[in-house]
């Protein structure tokens, strides 16, 4: 029995010949239905490449990605993506942005049902007062909420989040983390969250999987997070297990990070130069 979402030996690189850079190498991952997975990693380790692969925006060079046993073939509305930079269409209102997605996924819905459906998801992310506003009139946090509502309104099988909160300030991030937790608890979607924030991963996910630093990044040892749901940020912060998990993961990441810097370390020798007196006139050759 195959897992709900499965990545088998997925590799991806860019460029060719001497300039080829292997970004991801031999990624193996299986995710059960309704599971919340967080993938944490360093900047530039290929996190966005990984999510783009699952979303189908790019194709793997090797290996395959299966959703419910079916090989994925290009992007599709069964995998809702929440992009790091919100990716809202600036000429459409909050309602319009979500409507575009809903119309595409549920073409047979009657206009009244559609409006109700959209309103429900806008309500879920607490944006009802801003329903007719344009993205340019919203703050970063509100924009990301629209993006979350859009992805949820498509009722996807899997929700892919590419560092959804990294562009926000710490306070807004905390609020939105709790909202994501609440929404997940209500909807029980399968979620893959990409993040560079270990705390965020522990707070939200069932499993935290570190991505080793690139080039040729792959998934490291996974950490199961056993806090009961629904989770509460304050309670978890106070939990001694949280500190332990957090330290474990950070130590692990540091270790593989150092591994990288040692392996990667070309020695740079400074040239032996003496400063010249600036006032001395140089002979014209």
């Amino acid at each position: 029995m195959a897992a709900f979402l499965e990545l088998r030996n997925v590799s991806k690189g860019y460029g060719s010949g001497e300039n080829r850079v292997e970004v991801l190498k031999n990624i193996n991952l299986s995710i059960e239905e309704g599971e919340f997975i967080a993938i944490v990693g360093f900047t530039g380790s290929g996190k966005t490449t990984l999510i783009s692969l699952i979303a189908g925006l790019i194709e793997p060079d090797e290996g395959e990605i299966l959703l419910k046993g079916q090989k994925i073939n290009g992007p599709g509305p069964d995998r809702g993506v929440i992009f790091q930079n919100y990716s809202l269409l600036p000429w459409l209102s909050v309602f319009g942005n979500i409507e575009l997605a809903v119309k595409q996924v549920f073409p047979n819905m009657s206009p009244v049902d559609r409006a109700d459906h959209i309103a429900k998801y806008i309500e879920m992310v607490n944006l009802t007062p801003a329903i007719q506003k344009k993205p340019s009139e919203l703050s970063g946090g509100m924009r990301q909420r629209v993006s979350v509502a859009r992805a949820l309104a498509m009722d996807p099988e899997v929700l892919l989040m590419d560092e959804p909160l990294s562009a926000l300030d710490a306070l807004t991030r905390g609020t939105l983390q709790m909202e994501i937790e609440k929404i997940w608890y209500e909807s029980r979607k399968t979620v893959v969250l990409i993040t560079n924030d270990v705390d965020e991963g522990i707070l939200l996910a069932d499993r935290v999987i570190p991505l080793t630093p690139g080039p040729g990044a792959t998934l490291g040892t996974e950490y199961k997070i056993g806090f009961s749901r629904p989770r509460d940020k304050a309670a978890i912060n106070a939990d001694p297990n949280f500190k332990k998990e957090r330290n474990d993961i950070i130590n692990y990441l540091d270790e593989i990070g150092q591994h990288r810097s040692v392996n990667n370390g070309e020695e740079y020798v400074l040239p032996d130069l003496q400063p010249k007196y600036l006032s001395t006139k140089l002979p014209l050759i």
Partner: protein, 363 residues
């Protein structure tokens, strides 16, 4: 109230008047005085300096022409005639006026003359219409064409004709260039296939387009009674000016933000929705930049085309005045020059306002 006025001024591109309003209301006097000085007083001063320079230049050229005319008379007819000529010129006799660059006051008189002429012509036209009203009714009842006024058009009539031609040409350019630009923007293959057309035809002079168009129109409309010179000139205007819109549209469509395209990909939008819901709205700002350039180019080439096509309008007005050689012809040409400039400026501002309404990134 104030903020509404300011908003409106900004929309039509007159935002530099804002400090004046602030100053009238007595807000931040020192800062606003400085701003008013720089943004309003200095430009006005520069207008006066410009007029002064023109006046001096015109005077200088006038004196050279005057000397030459007197010397010429002296050489052919002798001293006595030369003296007479000098007296006649200095007395302001129009028949002996040296033909040179008109001074600002000449230009002003030219403008007044043109306006009076317009009033005279329109009075005549009105009188004619009143006279023929009853007759036209009869003719209409009998199924005949009404009698229309065929007298000389006034300067204002010429401006209106020119505007009509330019709008027809602009519409043609937009109708051709926007769809073509979208198709080219969407297909890299077509873009590289047709790039040479754009690169080669873009720099072709309006005059050549006019000749080409008249070659075709002459044959196609050989038996038609429609206004051929108007058709030729507006098609030439359209063909000359469409390139900016074509290139900008293709560019805008082919360089839509990757984020928007990702949205479209994830939603699996069909070709139609992809173009009309994502690509087109995203490239509206670029398309309008192209349309603005197109409108100003079409106004610019219009004059040259009218001049050659013998179709009525400002271009032929300038040419007729030049051929006419009356004592105030030069002044009227300069008046036309300023009218052309101001209308071009107005058209550009008009497009800017429309662009602001149509684009998503204007706020």
């Amino acid at each position: 109230m104030d903020s509404k006025i300011k908003q409106a001024l900004k929309w039509i591109g007159l935002g530099f008047l804002e400090p004046l309003i602030n100053l009238i209301r007595g807000k931040e006097v020192q800062k606003n005085t400085r701003l008013v000085l720089r943004q309003i007083v200095v430009p006005i001063l520069s207008v006066f300096i410009f007029l002064g320079a023109c006046d001096y230049g015109a005077q200088y050229l006038y004196n050279i022409e005057r000397e030459r005319k007197i010397e010429k008379t002296r050489a052919t007819l002798g001293d006595a005639e030369a003296l007479k000529m000098q007296q006649s010129i200095d007395a302001g006799d129009l028949s002996n006026k040296p033909n040179s660059l008109p001074s600002p006051s000449d230009v002003k008189n030219g403008a007044i003359a043109l306006w009076e002429d317009h009033q005279m012509v329109s009075a005549k036209k009105k009188a004619f219409e009143e006279k023929t009203a009853a007759l036209n009714k009869q003719r209409k009842a009998a199924g005949q064409d009404p009698i229309t006024y065929t007298g000389r058009p006034s300067f204002v009539d010429q401006i209106i004709t020119s505007l009509k031609t330019v709008f027809a040409g602009f519409l043609l350019a937009a109708l051709l260039a926007i769809p073509a630009g979208i198709v080219l923007g969407l297909s890299p293959t077509l873009r590289s296939a047709l790039n040479w057309v754009i690169q080669i035809f873009k720099p072709v002079s309006p005059v050549v387009w006019l000749l080409l168009v008249s070659m075709v129109v002459k044959t196609v409309l050989a038996n038609s009674t429609s206004d051929k010179s108007f058709i030729i000139s507006f098609i030439s205007v359209g063909l000359c000016s469409m390139w900016a819109t074509l290139v900008n549209t293709a560019m805008g469509v082919s360089s839509v933000d990757k984020d928007y395209l990702n949205v479209s990909k994830v939603l699996r939008l069909g070709v139609f929705s992809n173009v009309f819901k994502v690509i087109l709205p995203a490239s509206i700002p670029m398309i309008f930049t192209g349309l603005r350039i197109t409108l100003s180019v079409s106004w610019m080439v219009l004059i040259a085309i009218e001049l050659l096509a013998q179709s009525p309008g400002l271009g032929s007005f300038v040419w007729e005045e030049f051929q006419n050689g009356a004592n105030d012809s030069n002044a009227k040409i300069i008046v036309a020059m300023f009218v052309i400039g101001f209308i071009g400026f107005g058209l550009d501002r008009l497009m800017m306002v429309i662009q602001k309404f149509a684009s998503f990134d204007s706020k």
